[in-house]
Symmetry: C2
Subunit: 250 residues, 2 copies
């Protein structure tokens, strides 16, 4: 490669196959709950997806994440209990006519998946004043979320499913894993090989909410501005083409 | 493809080339500040990376994001002014001996990059009670961050650099873009083709902070537990191998 004197690597686009592989990971990634297989995850594979997580962007390069792997059945059981309690509370928050649908949804695979990972954020890791966090303190939590998304996409490329369990009381999760009060649990993830990936997000398939048309979510030069119709038409075509390319028939 | 009756797509790992393409996007993604070129971004390319963002995971499938493109010089100028003000305040927060280093760092490319994108979160988009957000209300902001990371990786595959500007007062950013008070600005991004990508994160190259050894960030079955030495050794080898594969010499 060139440009190494300046420490700059060449910036060409990926070739078409490589680019499409990145888009395939993005478009076919799913939040997995019900399809986990018990097959063990090889150490090399788990290591690679953790490296991917660790190379997420982080504010001030603070790398605030910690990855707590959970393989022990008793520990998973404690987390599952915390989920059950929270999920019972959650069901009651929905309008009565939606409660039975809610209860019919499978929302986690804590026990079935061979490995769970709790991704946390240590807000003190780089001291009090952090470049880029001076005005938006939440940036370190956002960095940990970027690590989650890297992990998720890497897992998809490895053929592994990931499910993010967010129906948990944070303090009960802390208690189940002995996480100190100063550490923020950002994501509790279930990982494993899967029987298959759903062709669309499950809540979309269940008719809970529709996929929004992307062109309705784009503004320009300010909240009340809109891009020109040519661009919006390109967006509509792009959304249709990418959905098609990564559908069962695509 | 098979399994379409159940709506399940096959779950094999990607082949090696495709898998490595995903890892290449992850490992060579950079936070770009100083290398933007003025070349315009074709509509098709910008559309694809927005589709990638839109296919991020979102809590309760609420898709809470909006993308405000900024191309207008005057609008960019207002955001840049907000950055300058915040950055001046930020410099003074560091210990005196670090202030000159801080001031020497280039921390944004707002004006030079052809397109800026403000990614926001509309917390009300799916009503008050959202599946998965009942116990951790911040989940919708996290969903918007996942969209940012998808966009960033897609951009890398397209040969586009992205820089996340977080040294901004949120209310001044809102004012510059007429964003309503109920909408949360999550990320202000600068996008464009680049002269090259740095071989390592700039703060690492500048000696601000080192890359942490990943094995030190992994725990097991609880905060005080550690995975066995075999696994940690595999992690060390994986981190070294992936860094090497995506280095200038790799």
């Amino acid at each position: 490669m060139t440009n190494t004197d300046s420490g700059l690597l060449p910036a060409q686009p990926f070739n078409e196959q490589d680019r499409d592989a990145v888009y395939r990971a993005i478009m076919t990634r799913r939040d997995v709950r019900g399809e986990f297989l018990p097959d063990p995850i090889p150490d090399e594979v788990l290591a690679r997806i953790l490296v991917a997580a660790h190379h997420a962007p982080s504010v001030g390069f603070m790398q605030p994440w910690t990855f707590t792997l959970v393989r022990d059945k008793a520990v998973k059981g404690r987390v599952h209990q915390a989920f059950e309690k929270a999920n019972g509370e959650a069901a009651l928050m929905f309008p009565e006519e939606k409660q039975s649908t809610y209860r019919s949804l499978k929302l986690e695979g804590i026990v079935e998946s061979p490995v769970n990972i709790c991704v946390t954020c240590d807000r003190q890791r780089a001291g009090k004043v952090v470049i880029g966090r001076t005005h938006i303190p939440i940036m370190d939590l956002y960095s940990s979320v970027c690590a989650v998304q890297n992990l998720w996409l890497a897992a998809r490329a490895e053929g592994l499913g990931v499910g993010w369990v967010s129906i948990l009381d944070q303090n009960e999760l802390r208690a189940a894993l002995d996480i100190p009060r100063t550490i923020i649990p950002v994501a509790y993830l279930c990982l494993g090989y899967v029987a298959g990936f759903h062709d669309r997000p499950e809540l979309e398939k269940a008719g809970w909410l529709p996929r929004l048309p992307l062109d309705s979510l784009i503004r320009q030069n300010g909240w009340s501005g809109r891009p020109d119709e040519d661009f919006l038409s390109t967006v509509r075509q792009g959304q249709a083409a990418m959905a098609q390319a990564h559908s069962p028939a695509g």
